[in-house]
Amino acid sequence: MNDTPLLDLSGLTKAYPGVVANDGVSLRIAPGEVHALLGENGAGKSTLVKMIYGLVKPDAGKMQMHGAGFAPAEPRAARAAGVGMVFQHFSLFDALTVAENIALGMEDAPKLRALSQRIREVSDTYGLPLSPDRVVGDLSAGERQRVEIIRCLLQDPKLLIMDEPTSVLTPQEVEILFKTLRKLSAEGTAILYISHKLEEIRALCDSATILRLGKVVGHCTPSETSARDMAEMMVGTVLKTPTRAGKTPGDVVLALTGLSAKSPSAFGMPLRDINVEVRAGEVLGIGGVAGNGQDELLAALSGETLSAPGMIAFQGRDIGVLGPTPRRAMGILTAPEERLGHAAAPDMSLTENAMLTGAARENLDRGGMLDWGAARAFAERIISTFDVRTPGPGNAARSLSGGNLQKFVIGREVLQRPDLLVVNQPTWGVDASAAAAIRQALLDLAENGAAIIAISQDLDELMEISDRFAALNEGRLSPTRPAQGLTVDEIGMMMGGAHGMEVAHV
């Protein structure tokens, strides 16, 4: 690494009404360096990269690129200066081909034929096989990410920003991505890598900057620092690891026999012949890459989609044709992944959102008439038990931060004493200490005899809380394996391997 940094940020400050998102943040990245940006949700990582990418203007501080002033007014200027960014959420049109999607994002797009040629070259060079003629709607999440990466690489970036790139990948796909990134780094492209996943950062990154509440609280060399130390720097306190007592599982609570169901949405994944049993007191962890039937499985269990008789048995009763309300009354509670709009109504108050699923079991519905006083008390109980940060239950769900709303949504179901709790991405976007609290709540439920199905894309989380593990791939569920002693490789194979990717020809 030479002495002039590629990017030099000093004293960057950005305030929003009521919150200082970045407070005097300084950061240097050398050419070819893989630099990790670490921090909890709300620590200011997104604001910082948005400033580098020209989406947000800093209130104070300056940025330098190659020793010269750098103040992109808009993403176009940042791209021209050699900054590329791969967002966590893809901005692709399902109905268009790969080449058409990439052409749409370019300033002076060449003819499609020439562009397709260049896409092939770049994908060959970096081991990201991708046919330019395929329709994006048919691609897996990993392949979609490749489209975004290739889109950036075509601009020949000096700095590539990647926001949580591995959340949609299998371990094998992650390994391939890392090979590509290392190759880029060896060619002198610097990479600013944002992630929660500390083991990944330890494997990939040369250095790390840790943000907390908008300030830089530390630097470290990830390969020489333990994941636990990094996590504690992020949170600022000592972390508690969820604990559990050993136990023997009880009776079968839920039995799925050949469960198949069409997906309600056009680009969704149908469920195909799922067979599994869950017993009282155990946690079944279900992994898998996003979009392989997780939402559909939750919907089939919650009663949002009905299934043929004989496929779902709860405590011995056939419940496939029952809707959500009778299932809740029996003790099957669920928490979907999408918080706003699915698990909660964004513009409604927390009291109303407590009513949303609490009506039957919390006795809030008396012969059709709703008891709003009791609903409010229930909402207050969730808020205090799960430490939801909000002025009160009268506030709209959308006014809560993602992590706080997640605590509310999980708390709402946990407090209703489920016999079977199904959660999808229970700690997605939640800070480390709150995530630990949610996992502990799930384990406590299991301890008290409930059966838990935890669907998640966070393998570390699943390994931490599951007794048994299975993976969803293309709507099929793998046979379950005891979670203890499973290796990352084995899990990856259960998740469907590398989905046809190959390792970069380095």
Binding site: L55, V56, K57, E74, S302, G303, E304, G323, P324, T325, R328, T334, P336, E338, L340, G341, H342, A343, A344, A345, P346, D347, M348, E352, M355, L356, T357, A359, D365, G368, M369, L370, W372, N395, A396, R398, S399
Partner: protein
């Protein structure tokens, strides 16, 4: 540079102030329009808003307010339930006509029987007529996924053809010297929806409208079904997740709005209108859509909005006859009211920011 920024929470103050701001803005810009037409804006506005209530002939206009306001409120209450859930019944006009035809049909069938039972049966007939007409788009929607907006709207024109056919054929007054139109129900005591207090304009339709307001208020604030309606409108997936059955909700909302529109038609044909004629319907079913939104889909708001709308109708008529304002200008004036309401409504969920732009 002005830009809109989403509020973290809907503003309660603005949600209450919006209708008032809209009325004020309509007065200002409507006055401007009247001025451009060469009329004195102040006089015009006073004529429209003041004369019917407190002017010299208010004793005549006040009952008219109830007569015009009641069907608007009754229909709008029904529509608002569906609108809140994102179920769009645009065909209340047709349901209103069918309610009148079924109700009047029952009454005419009993003619000249003198019994207290006739009017209640007519009310049931009217309710059934509106309900069944609304169940056509409802069933098509839940069975085949058709768009209820198009189907309900087109059924208005079918209902109008029925109306013409009935007044020229089956329901034509046999003692009417060949004129189109049914017997006059005002002259058939058992069927006549008379003023409950002579000369007050207070007929059964007004009572029904008030009951509907209370019913809707209790339903929306206290009952499971009203909660299901609100959640469905706010977040359909969350509603499904909470256990709302969308099919039943479509049937309930379209059915109820049709039923109330049918009742409005029956009370009109048996009362103020008196007979089934080709031009029986005057657009209450469409104006009620405006009333529902003007009242912010809230039962009490709709009650006030219905009154306001009736006021602009009657005031507009007075302005036409006294000041010679063109009818089109009055319609533009009413249109302005809806336009400003929707425009100001934005401020409930967004606030204006003045200053330099920034992409967030």
């Amino acid at each position: 540079m002005i830009r809109l920024e989403k509020r973290p929470q809907p503003s309660r103050a603005f949600s209450l102030a919006t209708p008032l701001l809209a009325v004020l803005a309509t007065m200002v810009f409507g006055g401007l329009m009247f001025a451009l037409l060469g009329k004195d804006p102040v006089t015009s506005i006073i004529t429209i808003f003041w004369q019917p209530l407190f002017g010299e002939f208010a004793f005549y206009y006040r009952p008219q307010l109830l007569i015009k306001g009641a069907p608007l409120v009754l229909i709008a209450i029904g529509l608002s339930l569906g609108f809140k859930a994102g179920i769009w019944n645009i065909g209340a006009e047709g349901q209103y006509i069918m309610g009148a035809l079924f109700g009047a049909g029952v009454g005419l069938a009993f003619y000249p029987l003198d019994s207290f039972i006739v009017f209640p049966l007519m009310v049931m007939g009217g309710a059934f007529g509106g309900w069944i007409w609304a169940m056509i788009p409802a069933m098509l929607k839940v069975k085949f996924g058709t768009n209820e907006i198009l189907v309900s709207l087109m059924l208005v024109y079918v209902a109008e053809q029925f109306l013409a056919s009935m007044s020229l054929g089956l329901m034509k007054n046999p003692e009417g010297f060949g004129f189109p139109g049914s017997r006059n129900l005002q002259q058939y005591e058992s069927a006549f929806n008379a003023d409950l207090i002579e000369g007050s304009g207070m007929h059964w339709g007004v009572v029904a409208a008030l009951i509907a307001v209370i019913f809707a208020y209790v339903l929306l604030t206290k009952h499971r079904l009203g909660f299901a309606i609100r959640v469905t409108g706010e977040a359909p997936r969350a509603a499904r997740f909470s256990g709302v059955n969308p099919t039943r909700l479509v049937l309930f909302c379209l059915g109820t709005s049709g039923l109330l529109a049918g009742l409005a038609g029956l009370f009109e044909v048996a009362g103020p209108a008196g007979q089934v004629t080709i031009d029986f319907n005057v657009g209450y079913g469409f104006t009620a859509i405006i009333v529902a939104f003007l009242g912010r889909l809230h039962p009490v708001g709709i009650l006030l909005a219905g009154g306001l709308m009736a006021l602009t109708y009657i005031g507009g008529d007075i302005a036409q006859s006294q000041l010679g304002l063109p009818a089109a200008a009055i319609q533009v004036f009413q249109g302005m009211l809806l336009f400003f309401l929707l425009a100001f409504d934005l401020l409930t969920n967004y606030r204006l920011r003045f200053g330099r732009t920034e992409v967030a």
